[in-house]
Amino acid sequence: MAKITLDNLAHSYLPNPQSEDDYALKELNHDWVDGEAYALLGASGCGKSTLLNIISGLLHPSQGRILFNDRDVTSEPTAARNIAQVFQFPVVYDTMTVRDNLAFPLRNRGADASYIQDRVQHIAKMIGMEGELNHKARGLTADAKQKISLGRGMVREDVNALLFDEPLTVIDPHMKWELRTQLKSLHHEFGHTMIYVTHDQTEALTFADKVVVMYDGRVVQIGTPQELFETPAHTFVGYFIGSPGMNVLAATVDGSTAYIEGTEVDLGAGYSVPDGKVEIGVRPEFASLSSNGTGLPIKIRRVEDVGRHKIVRADFFENEINVIAGEGAEIGADMNRVTFEAAHINVYANDWRVEPMGTQASPAGEAA
């Protein structure tokens, strides 16, 4: 178990990167706190697998250092870093039995037989494969194989970190839930530092203590699920997390008032806004429809009933605004306005969130 420090880290797959665009992973400084469970969330191609492979030592970064407990491991090979990694697709040793597969990392490190026996039994119970321990891995289904991969990743107790690269892609939905719960309980039990790469927000938000959102090779926000939801540091986080994503509307901001297509909206706090593209963002959860003439003029296009609530899709000039209404809410034909809760409106300049005046915290985006 270890604290992992990324110091000035960046990576490009090109031999001579010229501009920032050439970097698959842009410069990054971050401490992964010992014993926390992180989710690394982003769309595919955003650099999250690159980051993971640099941590595990499968990839050598173009610049910067990696430290495990303040010891520089940048030039150490994977085996010396003592980490475990589970890949997107099952990697099992086909000709071995399930038991031998699980014991493999321990045997290679010369653990003694009785310890291996106990440990394999323990892991087999956790992944629910006690009955198949003596089967060859070859004949098993894809999700059984992936369970073995997970098991092999968890079999060593002394690892510095456990890395997961979208490990549940091939697993059945109901099994996904179960395995994720198992991973969480494992985390509570042993307190490993865990990094879990995924493009699935539900997976990320339910698994992790802290979610690291990546976009275009850059970490845009690190925070608890609640922080990501209430104060997205970047419009991408707003779009990407939540279903549907945050409404982002071009606006001009003056003090505590925003003007959107000529309509005044109260922001609840004062802002000093730098030059550039200014937008406000409001989650559909904090928007509501009205028919009393206040708010932004909209035209309801469609109402989707998803069971727990209703999603209202409405047109606002060239844009779309989504509103979430309660399951019991009546949506009348005369509802042609939308209002926002002032406390939950965020202001963005050039896609980055602007803190209201009078708060001391630095912009969350720079924490990365």
Partner: protein, 283 residues
């Protein structure tokens, strides 16, 4: 060798000495492969007196006379033409009959299909020596002796089963839904097969054609037995360099080098598919 790029994902430290080992192994192996061929080339560019004189590692008196002998004598160069004719004929026939059969085996179950498939493959295991004599009699009796088509048909014995086997493997990789969609869209079987299916398994057809070409080109026993003058292949003509005045080594070597050229050309064209091709679509 090309390991600079490879090494990116390989671990440092452990991998470096191994790469040097790789290069040594490959250099040794390729030298072993190329040295005899180089020697043949070397000899083909020497005069007979130099060949029989002291051993020289490269031609001291470079001459193209041996090649000139072959390329100006009709009985010589017609050998190449004959060989190419029956090889191409064989490849075309093999692919043409194997295509529908491979499709049937890959898509349908029918009475006796497994037995038929196995029986076809057993013909690939038949020693040509077993068939030399009966072929000779069979083709003589139907008046096909000493024709290109006779050799082409004889080579079908081992090439057709191989072509069916290879293409069946590739066709199995094409989802059946494609066939069904095409029929729903109103394609007839023939139009679907030519317009949609064949382009999808183009690489399989290419691999099968490559193997047919290869095995027909390198075979000697049957092609020599079934021809005398009109369709005599180059490999059979080569034996005549041994004359009363002793072996004409220079011409023999030149003829040998010229038989390597078509193969080398074919390999060059398919170089990017070799690895996949040799796995016959069954990796």
């Amino acid at each position: 060798m090309a390991d600079a790029s490879l090494n990116k994902t390989a671990s440092r430290g452990i991998a470096l000495p191994k790469i040097k080992g790789n290069v040594v192994v490959m250099v040794l192996y390729l030298t072993f492969l190329l040295l005899p061929i180089y020697w043949l080339l070397n000899m083909s560019l020497k005069t007979n007196s130099e060949i029989l004189g002291a051993l020289t590692l490269w031609p001291n008196s470079l001459t193209f006379a041996n090649y000139a002998t072959i390329l100006t004598d009709q009985t010589w160069y017609m050998g190449y033409v004959n060989s190419l004719i029956y090889v191409v004929l064989n490849t075309v026939i093999s692919i043409a009959v194997a295509l529908p059969a491979a499709y049937a085996f890959s898509r349908y179950t029918f009475m006796g299909d497994k037995h038929l498939f196995f029986w076809l493959l057993t013909n690939r295991m038949a020693p040509p020596a077993v068939f030399a004599l009966p072929f000779f009699q069979l083709y003589s009796s139907v008046g096909l002796f000493d024709t290109h088509i006779a050799v082409a048909l004889a080579h079908c014995l081992f090439n057709v089963p191989l072509a069916v086997w290879i293409m069946e493997g590739f066709m199995r990789g094409v989802p059946k839904e494609i066939d069904e969609t095409a029929y729903i869209d109103g394609y007839s079987f023939g139009r679907f097969f030519v317009k949609i299916f064949m382009p999808l398994i183009a690489s399989g057809i290419g691999v099968a054609a490559f193997f047919c070409f290869m095995f027909s080109w390198v075979e000697l026993l049957l092609s020599r037995t079934l021809t005398s003058v009109a369709a005599k292949p180059i490999s059979a003509i080569m034996t005549r360099t041994a004359g009363a005045a002793g072996q004409d080594w220079g011409v023999l070597a030149a003829a040998g080098v010229l038989t390597i050229v078509p193969g080398a050309l074919v390999i060059y064209f398919v170089r990017n598919y070799i690895a996949k091709g040799f796995a016959l679509g069954r990796v």
